[in-house]
């Protein structure tokens, strides 16, 4: 079964530092997403990405966040200057088609801890 791979599984960073979370989506998927889940809370949408550009983003996804697909396989989320409240699980997801017609495949997540 194809998987979405995320690295690292756990990252600890100091407040104010930049972090890059990495994802390798499923190879024939065209739509990519980042979600986050603060401990004990809902899974929240951050951003969707298609055809090398952002298609939608939430109010959480402010100027401190950026996404990139630097090559044909990786999809990254950068947080420029981390805050304590950025501590959460970050999930990458991908889908073959848009409109979630066949559901999304999520990775296992990166647990980000900002200290």
């Amino acid at each position: 079964e194809p998987e979405v791979t995320q690295t690292p599984s756990h990252q600890v960073t100091q407040m104010g530092q930049e972090v890059i979370l990495r994802c390798v989506p499923i190879s024939n998927h065209l739509y990519f997403y980042w979600y986050r889940q603060i401990l004990g809370q809902k899974v929240e949408f951050l951003v969707s990405f298609y055809n090398n550009e952002i298609s939608e983003k939430s109010e959480i996804f402010d100027d401190q966040f950026s996404v990139e697909r630097p090559d044909g396989s990786n999809f990254t989320l950068k947080i420029r200057s981390t805050k304590l409240e950025d501590s959460a699980m970050y999930f990458c997801a991908s889908s073959e088609v848009g409109q979630g017609a066949y559901g999304y495949t999520f990775g296992s997540g990166t647990r980000l801890t900002v200290v």
Partner: protein, 113 residues
């Protein structure tokens, strides 16, 4: 504002029984609803999707119904097993474009021997 609500109380049932989980939404009528399973510390795993013109969808021991009049989806697991213990999330796309899922808080299911 649009909301998607799941019973936040955990559901404990005995092995072999049918588990029924509820997802209610307000205002906006989604074109489809998705159901996911989430284990602790893991990402959501897609289970089923049901469209607004479908009353029911089945996959092995899983069944989902969608009642657009009641604004409700029910998720059933028949012949439940301890391995079914997890948190189950419903989700839909408010924009209709399918690129921005809004998740419910999830219902934790525990299947006991």
């Amino acid at each position: 504002s649009q909301k998607i609500e799941q019973n936040s109380e955990a559901l404990n049932i005995q092995e072999g029984k049918t588990a029924t989980l509820t997802c209610n939404y307000t205002n906006y009528s989604p074109a489809y609803l998705q159901w996911y399973r989430q284990d602790p510390g893991r990402g959501p795993v897609f289970l089923l999707l049901i469209r607004e013109n479908e009353k029911e969808k089945r996959k092995e021991r899983l069944k989902v119904t969608f009642d657009t009049t009641l604004k409700q989806s029910l998720f059933h697991i028949t012949a439940s097993q301890p391995a079914d213990s997890a948190t189950y999330l419903c989700a839909y796309d408010l924009t209709g474009g399918g690129n921005k899922l809004t998740f419910g808080t999830g219902t934790q299911l525990k299947v006991e021997l």
